[in-house]
């Protein structure tokens, strides 16, 4: 055992090293507690908050009801019922879209999975409710969240590139799907 080591042992040097931050804080006091809800935290840029459904610039829903988010979701939050758009034969959309937010992990896999960027993660996090059932969101609610969180919208998919012009287009001259 060297002299320095012995000196460190008898002066409890390591404890001071460990307490360094604490000591520093004792001297330079800075409050870390936020007075929530009066004060709000600055969220990191890639914060993953409440999920939302988005719309194109002309107000149509982006979601094509492909069920991929449902397949990607690890905790079975999402349920999609897809169908043909009424009055727009052969165009696919989600007739019903449910998210059971009580189970959501906010992992963002659904957003990654979405082929048309119809899902987005907002920066909303204040979703405490009295009744758990209020966290079972339907399509209208999810679209409303999207509307208030993403005011800037993308233009229609088929206008973005000639190769997606035939992606999910309605055919007015065809009859509606039977039954």
């Amino acid at each position: 055992m060297t002299f320095t080591a012995w000196l460190k042992t008898i002066t409890f040097y390591d404890i001071f090293v460990g307490m360094k931050v604490t000591m520093k804080h004792m001297v330079h006091y800075r409050p870390v507690t936020l007075q929530y809800p009066h004060e709000k935290r600055t969220l990191p840029d890639n914060y993953r908050g409440m999920l939302a459904l988005l719309r194109y610039d002309d107000g149509t829903e982006k979601c094509v009801g492909c069920d991929l988010c449902e397949a990607a979701c690890p905790s079975r939050v999402i349920r999609v019922v897809s169908a043909e758009v009424p009055g727009e034969p052969t165009k696919r959309y989600s007739k019903e879209y449910y998210m059971d937010m009580t189970r959501c992990l906010f992992c963002g896999l659904c957003v990654d999975a979405c082929p048309v960027d119809a899902l987005g993660m907002t920066r909303e996090f204040e979703w405490s409710v009295y009744d758990k059932r209020q966290l079972h969101l339907n399509k209208e609610q999810l679209l409303a969240i999207g509307d208030r969180s993403f005011p800037v919208r993308e233009k229609q998919l088929e206008l973005q590139h000639p190769n997606v012009a035939f992606f999910n287009v309605a055919f007015k001259h065809l009859p509606q799907k039977p039954g």
Partner: protein, 888 residues
């Protein structure tokens, strides 16, 4: 069934040595050793086309890469599929195929089960395609089949399937180069057999089913392998369900008797089971109206009234009718219930409408109640004789076997049908036939006699038979010589030469199969015609030979089962005669209870007895006599007179509307059991969804009745009933992969040739009465439509899309003569009534005839006379002479 011992060759694939039959393709050989070579255009059913170039492999001693789907394995061949060269080739070809593919997987129904998607993942294909993709204008294709030609990879599987397998040729590649697209004709929507083959065979999402469009993803579906409920062919189908919803039907290549082929009914008809009109609660008639009740109430009601009636009138005051759509288990339990619990032989099934004619003929001549041939024998046959089958419409999959025999194995097809050869996008069997004779349904008997006469006069009689049964041969020869060719020509409208040629082909064949369909079996005097047909086979020595036989086609999915389960009055389970003491003892031993001895009444007889008030109570399971029998039989009045009418039904049919108690039954999609198909193959039915509402399988209801009546027939599940069936009929339905047909019983044939033929030879060998047709009239016939099966399919949304109503189908010449155009409203009338419908002009209808699909013909039934066969008691009401008048 291939009895040619195939030569084998040995080849090496990726270092694995394998021996395969000569002529096997490399891709098939690779599959056997577990090497999956990617492919789009190859399909085992189709001839190789090698157009996708995806299956390139390296073959030693060949300079270029070879397509494994068109290269035949040869001795000592060394194939490599896992080299870099091959991998790069696959990758580059995939890149080309992907170049113009729209990548709209999220909205494509094929997503998740798409070959292109799978291979793209496998080869992690990245596309360098930076150009604009080709875009096809979307056109309306058909109500049930959706095309998205931008997704097409031009493998032409659909086109080849449509041509090679279905012989429909409704699809064609249109245009050239990249702009090739699959279309029917111009901008016209598809109008074809709607077999769904193109939907199933498309490796990508270019052709999808519109019926279930966007409703599912493959991974959400639960599957159940079951048997189609629409015809006697017994096709295996895979019903895919999402929760309790029926989503789609598929059929796997190589599975079942159909090996992946389906017809419109099988592919698009499945939604009949989930129709909103399904009965979900028991109904009891109270104060003249049917009201909802609980099961307990309903069962107690039935038990109470049954007991009361039985006490006051005895067991013979009851009768029972069951549909040939029920499972074997239900048919068995039904007859057991009627015979033991009730104690009467008054029971019948829908096999009585025609199938029993064929079965009884087989029993009396060859001593079997089943075909002595299988579908494989049909495929391998040299000569096929079709009589009144209307096979494409009535038994489409058996029809495919016939087509396969003709197209792939070059069989000689002889047809005696009430159709004309005509080109159209619904396949017409007479187009394929070598010799076709167009005869009105009432004159099929005359045509068979013509054939017999040609056989006798052309000296085609088997020489051993001459020695074996000289009396029989001379008796038949004499009887047939009585007939005059001229009379025959007048009756059938066919010259003697045609018969002579046909007889020569028939006698020249080594493997001859004669198929008789419902058009014949349901016609008047069909039993005699079937016997004559068997005579024909017997005389030419084709009855007992290997691969030869007589095959009557069943219309309903379990007509054959109904007969074999003894659900007809005169037959016990195992097709034993009720009058046979040994047989009765055998059943008594199995059931440990005595059987009723009194002969039972058949369908028409029961109606008569109900009319006279002798039968007081009737149990009807799935049958609809009011809807299917002509009103002249007095069926409605008879049933109204009953004290107790119990119906177990899916829907509130005309018969159920008269009932005192209606019990909701489960459809074939919701229950377990077995069906016996037309060739006698027993196949398992498995539930795809839970019973709708409060409905129960029919056997459960019958079991419950028996408990309430104090003579319990209790079973845990359908399997237990099957076990009992096997005890009664040893080895019944061992559910093997292929049926083993019974052999002709030589003793029975001897009996027939010595004794059996004498009874009715004279009556059989006379010409049927000729129709005298007046001007302005046509011979109206009830036919089976390709798109419907009984009344059940009229509840199927998919099939109603194709054929929403029954149109009067007429020959263009007749239509022109009567001044009618397609779409005109006409009134059909004769002495018995009138019926209004719409005209459809169809080339294949022979002149002088008009067809009406019997699924929609209920109101037209009053035009028909009902004639009951004296031997088999089959009611026949298939043709009538009517005058056609155009109405506004």
């Amino acid at each position: 069934m291939d009895n040619i011992t195939a030569e084998h060759v040995r080849l090496t694939i990726d270092g694995i040595s394998i021996s395969v039959p000569k002529g096997t393709l490399v891709i098939e050989a690779a599959r056997r050793v577990g090497v999956m070579i990617p492919h789009f255009c190859y399909h085992p059913k189709l001839k190789p086309d090698a157009n996708c170039r995806m299956c390139l492999v390296e073959v030693e001693r060949m300079p270029k890469l070879q397509t494994s789907c068109s290269t035949v394995a040869t001795e000592g061949m060394t194939v490599r599929t896992a080299t870099t060269v091959v991998h790069n080739a696959h990758k580059s070809v995939l890149e080309f195929i992907l170049a113009n593919h729209p990548l709209d997987c999220p909205v494509c129904d094929q997503g998740g089960k798409c070959d292109l998607q799978d291979f793209s993942h496998q080869y992690t294909a990245t596309s360098r395609f930076a150009e604009t993709k080709r875009i096809f204008q979307k056109e309306y294709f058909s109500p049930l089949i959706e095309t998205q030609m931008n997704r097409c990879v031009q493998c032409l599987r659909c086109v080849r399937y449509c041509d090679e397998v279905m012989d429909v040729k409704a699809l064609a590649p249109i245009g050239r180069g990249t702009m090739t697209e699959i279309k029917s004709f111009g901008a016209h929507p598809l109008d074809c057999e709607f077999c769904g083959g193109c939907v199933q065979i498309c490796p990508v999402g270019a052709i999808t089913s519109r019926l279930s469009m966007y409703e599912y993803r493959p991974w959400m579906l639960k599957r159940a392998d079951t048997v189609c409920m629409f015809c006697g062919d017994g096709c295996q189908i895979t019903v895919q369900t999402k929760d309790q919803e029926l989503i789609e039907v598929n059929s796997a290549q190589g599975a079942g008797r159909n090996s992946g082929d389906l017809c419109a009914r099988g592919f698009f008809g499945f939604r009949a089971a989930s129709h909103p009109d399904r009965l979900t609660h028991p109904l009891i008639r109270r104060n003249g109206a049917l009201v909802e009740a609980t099961w307990e109430e309903a069962l107690e009601f039935v038990a109470e009234h049954t007991k009361r009636l039985k006490l006051s009138h005895g067991p013979q005051a009851f009768g029972g009718l069951i549909s040939g759509r029920c499972t074997n288990e239900e048919l068995y339990l039904f007859q057991k219930f009627m015979r033991l619990t009730i104690g009467t032989n008054n029971l019948d099934s829908s096999a009585r409408y025609g199938h029993i004619n064929g079965v009884q003929a087989m029993r009396s001549v060859q001593g079997t109640h089943r075909w002595t041939v299988t579908f494989e024998d049909i495929v391998q046959a040299d000569v096929l004789l079709l009589i009144g089958t209307n096979i494409t419409e009535a038994n489409p999959i058996t029809g495919l076997k016939v087509k396969e025999a003709v197209k792939k194995h070059e069989a000689t097809l002889l047809t005696i049908e009430a159709i004309q050869p005509a080109i159209g996008t619904i396949s017409n069997i007479s187009n394929l036939s070598k010799q076709h004779v167009c005869v009105a349904p009432s004159q099929f008997g005359a045509a068979v006699l013509g054939l017999l006469k040609a056989v006798v006069e052309g000296n085609h009689i088997d020489s051993t038979l001459r020695q074996q049964a000289p009396d029989y041969v001379s008796a038949v020869s004499q009887a047939i010589q009585q007939l005059d060719w001229e009379d025959l020509a007048v009756s059938t409208g066919v010259s003697s030469e045609s018969f002579v040629q046909m007889a020569a082909s028939l006698a020249g064949g080594r493997r001859v199969v004669a198929l008789a369909g419902q058009t014949l079996l349901r016609s008047q005097g069909a039993y005699g015609v079937c016997l004559n047909l068997l005579d024909l086979l017997l005389l030419t020595g084709k009855l007992t030979a290997q691969g030869c036989g007589f095959a009557p086609l069943a219309e309903e999915n379990n007509d054959q089962g109904a007969v074999e389960m003894g659900a007809v009055s005169a037959l016990l389970p195992g097709v034993l005669d009720l009058t046979d003491r040994d047989a009765r003892d055998q059943i008594t031993r199995a059931w440990k209870e005595d059987l009723p001895v009194a002969t039972g009444a058949t369908l028409i007889e029961m109606i008569g007895l109900a009319q006279t008030g002798i039968i007081k109570g009737l149990f009807i399971v799935g049958e609809n006599p009011v809807g299917s029998l002509p009103p002249q039989t007095g069926v409605k009045e008879a049933l109204s007179k009953l004290d107790l009418l119990v119906c177990q039904e899916l829907f509130l049919t005309e018969t159920a509307a008269l009932a005192h108690v209606v019990l909701p039954a489960a459809s074939a999609m919701e229950k377990a059991g077995t069906f016996t198909n037309t060739e006698g193959h027993v196949q398992a039915v498995r539930p795809a969804i839970d019973p709708v509402g409060d409905s129960r399988p029919d056997w459960e209801i019958l079991s419950a009745f028996s408990v309430f009546l104090g003579a319990p027939l209790e079973y845990g599940d359908a399997k237990e009933i099957l076990k009992e069936i096997r005890a009664v009929i040893p080895g019944y339905g061992s559910l093997g992969p292929s049926p083993i047909p019974p052999a002709v019983d030589p003793a029975a044939v001897d009996r027939y040739m010595n004794e059996g033929y004498r009874r009715d030879l004279a009556t059989r060998y006379t010409l049927p009465a000729r129709d005298v047709r007046q001007d302005g009239t046509v011979q109206l016939g009830l036919t089976q439509s390709l798109f419907h099966s009984g009344k059940l399919s009229t509840y199927s949304t998919g099939l109603l899309q194709i054929e929403p109503s029954g149109l009067l189908q007429m020959n263009p010449v007749d239509a022109a003569r009567l001044g009618l155009d397609a779409g005109d409203r006409v009134r059909l009338s004769n002495g018995q009534g009138k019926f209004t419908t719409t005209v459809k002009v169809l080339d294949r209808v022979p002149e002088g005839l008009a067809w009406l699909p019997d699924h929609f013909a209920q109101d037209a039934l009053r035009l028909f006379d009902c004639v009951v066969d004296p031997d088999t008691k089959v009611p026949s009401y298939r043709t009538a002479s009517v005058s056609v008048v155009k109405t506004a």
